[in-house]
């Protein structure tokens, strides 16, 4: 009798372990993965022998989509799903930012650059069975451009449309017209050099007019496009399930039968899940986990092409950072290679210009300020600060991890230590993200801030003009940097349609920016992904979105 209490306790204590322990082999099918069963290594072995049976891909990523209508979002996580469900008129060649045909087979541009005529791909159907045609394209563009459109539902704003084709009142696109069933014509108000680049963005994926009319507000939860995958189910903050589009217009695609995209916010937990076989592909691997990944033969490393820039920006509103000598001095005092070795596991390259070297128009003649503390000190003397800066500098370091900056605070501490050596004392502040963006945009609290950018559309305009032109104050130009010469060049580049001439203009712009030093460009990172070793055919895109249609398991 006396033993009962302790027996009960032992039973309850032991129950979990015993019960869980015997769940190792309940005959799950090979496609089920090891979430419920066998060790990862066994699972991998099973998968290898029964090669082609795995046709479900489970992707693990850090956050959930905000909405599934790609036209109303700007966040990368939402666009990733949009890209699977929708096709745009054009798309980027896998792994690059070069434009190639998609729903539009071919196009003609008029001499003056004001008329674009697209021939559409025939016999394409939306997931709801309705026909894709010129009218559908017109319907979508009208929905985005007309602020009074009945299909602009409560809360919707077509931000990327406004930002790429100008806000209401200064639209680039004057009219979109269906010439015949498979021909659509765009008339522009003014030439726009990156017009085709813009059209290829996921945000301009063509949705089914019938579905938009029928589903109304609910379209953002139940999207209908022409893409390789059909939306099936969205469990918020948990998973999004996509089924194969059996009638996809590209022959033989997609190769997978089903894609499940799960939100796993914690980087370590996500990597644990991959190692445990619960997911097949993960995004945003911490550089810290790289060595564990490389030592595991069941897994592979996937590198996303570097298409971003992380930088420190000087706040021109604050003294003495309006002084170019001070800015140059601090440029000389940052050891980029040491930072890359310490915090990026080598998966980054030092940044010289405000745009990545892989982008056309990059000026490789521009020389970086090398790491040289003597030169830095000398410049400070010339600027009138022989004993270093008199006041403590407030350095804003990012509180969140981003593909271009996994750990902003650590990097800021390294820079703080270097600057100390030339007599510049800094205090690092990392307010919570919303406050951070607000503060740096107002420019009242920070002296120097850390931020970055991932390109949207493969055009230099999307880096240099967006981040450093005087037009983008207040906004993305958080340095409050104004240079009229630069502005003239950037505006000219927007109107020029000859790409070679544009490239020259951007090269000039980079020279001016280097000399003015409104930033300290830090790094271009190579974002890391990890996958099961038998996953094939995945080509990560530079802008952060790619089709899952070519993926298969070996």
């Amino acid at each position: 009798m006396k033993k009962w209490g302790s027996l009960a306790l032992m039973l309850t204590l032991g129950a979990g372990l015993v019960l869980s322990g015997c769940g190792g082999n309940n005959g799950s099918s090979t496609t089920e993965g090891s979430a419920s069963s066998a060790p990862a290594s066994t699972a991998a072995a099973t998968a290898a022998t029964t090669a082609s049976t795995q046709d479900t891909l489970i992707v693990g990523r850090g956050g959930d989509s905000a909405s599934l209508d790609p036209a109303i979002v700007t966040d990368g996580e939402s666009l990733k799903i949009g890209h699977q469900v929708f096709d745009s008129l054009l798309e980027y060649k896998p792994g690059t930012s070069e434009v190639e045909p998609s729903l539009a087979d071919s196009w003609e541009v008029s001499q003056d650059g004001l008329t674009y005529t697209f021939k559409l791909h025939p016999n394409v159907k939306f997931h709801d069975g309705t026909d894709f045609n010129a009218e559908a394209v017109v319907f979508n563009f009208e929905r985005w451009s007309d602020p009074k459109s009945p299909y602009k539902f409560e809360g919707d704003s077509f931000d990327y449309y406004d930002s790429m084709f100008g806000p209401d009142g200064s639209r680039v696109i004057k009219e979109v017209k269906a010439v015949d069933d498979l021909t659509v014509q765009f008339t522009l108000n003014q030439p726009q050099a990156p017009f085709l680049q813009n059209l290829a963005m996921t945000s301009f994926g063509i949705g089914s007019p019938t579905a938009i009319k029928e589903k109304k507000e609910n379209f953002k939860n139940e999207p209908v496009g022409t893409g390789p995958f059909v939306f099936k189910e969205w469990k918020h903050n948990d998973s999004i399930t996509l089924d194969k589009n059996p009638n996809y217009w590209k022959e033989g695609l997609p190769k997978l039968n089903k894609v499940i995209v799960r939100s796993i916010p914690d980087n370590s937990a996500r990597f644990n899940a991959l190692q445990n076989g619960e997911i097949d592909l993960m995004e945003d691997l911490s550089p810290d986990d790289l060595s564990t990944l490389e030592s595991n033969t069941d897994l592979q490393k996937i590198e996303r092409p570097p298409f971003n820039v992380a930088y420190l920006g000087f706040n021109f509103k604050k003294k003495p950072f309006d002084n170019v000598k001070v800015r140059q001095a601090l440029n000389y005092a940052v050891n980029k290679q040491a930072i890359i070795d310490a915090f990026f596991a080598g998966q980054a390259q030092p940044a010289v210009n405000p745009m990545p070297p892989s982008l056309w128009g990059y000026n490789d003649q521009v020389k970086d300020y090398e790491y040289n503390l003597d030169k830095a000190k000398q410049l400070l003397v010339e600027a009138g600060y022989p004993n270093g800066l008199p006041d403590t500098v407030t350095l804003y370091a990012m509180p969140v991890s981003r593909p271009y900056m996994p750990d902003g605070k650590k990097v800021a501490e390294a820079i703080q230590a270097d600057w100390e050596k030339i007599g510049v004392k800094t205090v690092i502040e990392s307010p919570e993200w919303a406050t951070y963006l607000d503060d740096t945009k107002a420019g009242e609290k920070d002296d120097i801030y850390m931020l970055g950018w991932t390109g949207d559309n493969g055009d230099p305009d999307n880096f240099i003009y967006t981040l450093l032109d005087k037009d983008t104050i207040p906004g993305n130009n958080r340095s409050f940097y104004v240079n009229e010469d630069l502005h003239k060049i950037l505006v000219e580049a927007q109107k020029e349609t000859d790409q070679n001439k544009r490239a020259d203009l951007y090269k000039q712009a980079q020279v001016i920016i280097k000399e003015d030093a409104p930033w300290i460009p830090l790094v271009h990172t190579t974002p890391l992904l990890a996958a099961k070793a038998n996953l094939k055919g995945y080509v990560p895109g530079p802008t952060g979105t790619e089709y899952y249609s070519d993926i298969y398991f070996e």
Binding site: S36, I58, E154, D159, K220, H236, D266, A434, P474
Partner: protein, 334 residues
């Protein structure tokens, strides 16, 4: 009893109104522009302004508050700014997920905690007592994120006994009806999934239940010790009653009253405070829902989310008070 119930429910109203005022003033005092946060760095100034107007963020907060309360009385919890979906509809799956997790955590915490506390008191100053109380002390001070990752490392990665994340086997899911997956898989007759759902509950349940388990164990122990020294227990022993019956029948009933309070409070605390566990185990619960709303300044979600949690918390307290009465008839309500 029923008039007491009525009175208690009437008291809820000012409590909840007070909650809305506090929450409303606090979140409007947080710096950070919601328009910028919601639309992202890449949005235009014009669309940000349009959003502010549409949300009424340009109005004084008193006006915003009155508008919000007006909607609330009509049963409208508002619309999430980020996902543009009505909150009343959106929050249900999150609440269900949290409920399932909380129940399993509290089952673990109560069964282990109460038993450990009883045994410690029974065998006071024995090795078991010391060991249990040391474990309880460690349990209270254990960082949840660390415990969670360690559990994953040992039970998922090394031993492969349990899944590390999520709520069920995603490759072959059960259709959600109630969003409580244990019930859904029973309804669907999917015993294989029921088993995986339970397995998915074990690690996060233990991670989340460890702190309440430790608190409950310590509370039970001290409460039991007090009761064990009282006269009626001495009488019971003097009658020659077995130790087991003395402990589990006579002492436990009275010792349990303060323990029940703790269990009630802890359950309420877990409902909203499970953010870390939910993050580590990719559990789509209400804690993460509100946390993400805070970081994106999704005001309507923060307001309504906290209000709902507060409401549930108050209800749990009410239930605890009612339980007192049924356990101990000496407690009279007037």
């Amino acid at each position: 009893m029923s008039s007491y119930l009525f009175k208690r429910i009437m008291v809820l109203i000012p409590v909840l109104i007070g909650m809305t005022i506090i929450v409303f003033s606090i979140i409007h005092a947080i710096p950070g522009d919601p328009a910028e946060t919601i639309l992202g760095q890449k949005a235009t100034e014009q669309s940000k302004q349009a959003l502010r107007e549409q949300l009424g963020l340009d109005k004084p907060w008193i006006t915003q508050y009155v508008d919000y309360m007006g909607d609330l009385l009509k049963g409208d919890l508002g619309t999430s700014i980020r996902t543009k979906t009505p909150i009343a509809k959106e929050i249900m799956p999150y609440l269900a997920a949290t409920l399932e997790l909380t129940v399993s955590a509290m089952l673990f915490a109560t069964i282990v905690g109460v038993n450990a506390g009883i045994l410690s008191a029974w065998k006071q100053n024995s090795w078991f007592d010391y060991a249990a109380m040391i474990i309880a002390l460690i349990g209270v001070s254990m960082p949840i994120f660390w415990l969670g990752l360690m559990e994953q490392l040992v039970f998922a990665l090394k031993l492969h006994w349990l899944p590390s994340i999520g709520r069920m086997n995603q490759r072959d899911p059960v259709e959600s009806i109630t969003n409580l997956y244990v019930i859904d898989s029973i309804l669907a007759g999917r015993w294989d999934q029921l088993w995986t759902v339970i397995k998915h509950l074990i690690l996060p349940g233990i991670a989340l239940g460890t702190i309440p388990m430790a608190i409950i164990a310590r509370m039970t122990r001290s409460s039991m010790l007090e009761v064990m020294n009282s006269d009626y227990i001495r009488t019971a022993r003097a009658k020659g009653m077995s130790q087991f019956l003395v402990v589990y029948k006579h002492a436990l009933k009275n010792a349990l009253i303060p323990v029940l309070t703790v269990i009630g409070l802890q359950t309420g605390a877990l409902l909203g405070g499970a953010v870390l566990t939910e993050t580590i185990f990719a559990w789509p619960g209400v804690g993460r829902y509100i946390f993400e709303a805070i970081s994106s300044r999704d005001y309507p979600v923060i307001q309504s989310g906290i209000l709902i949690i507060a409401f549930i918390f108050v209800i749990i307290n009410l239930l605890v008070d009612l339980l007192y009465a049924s356990i101990d008839p000496r407690i009279q309500y007037k």
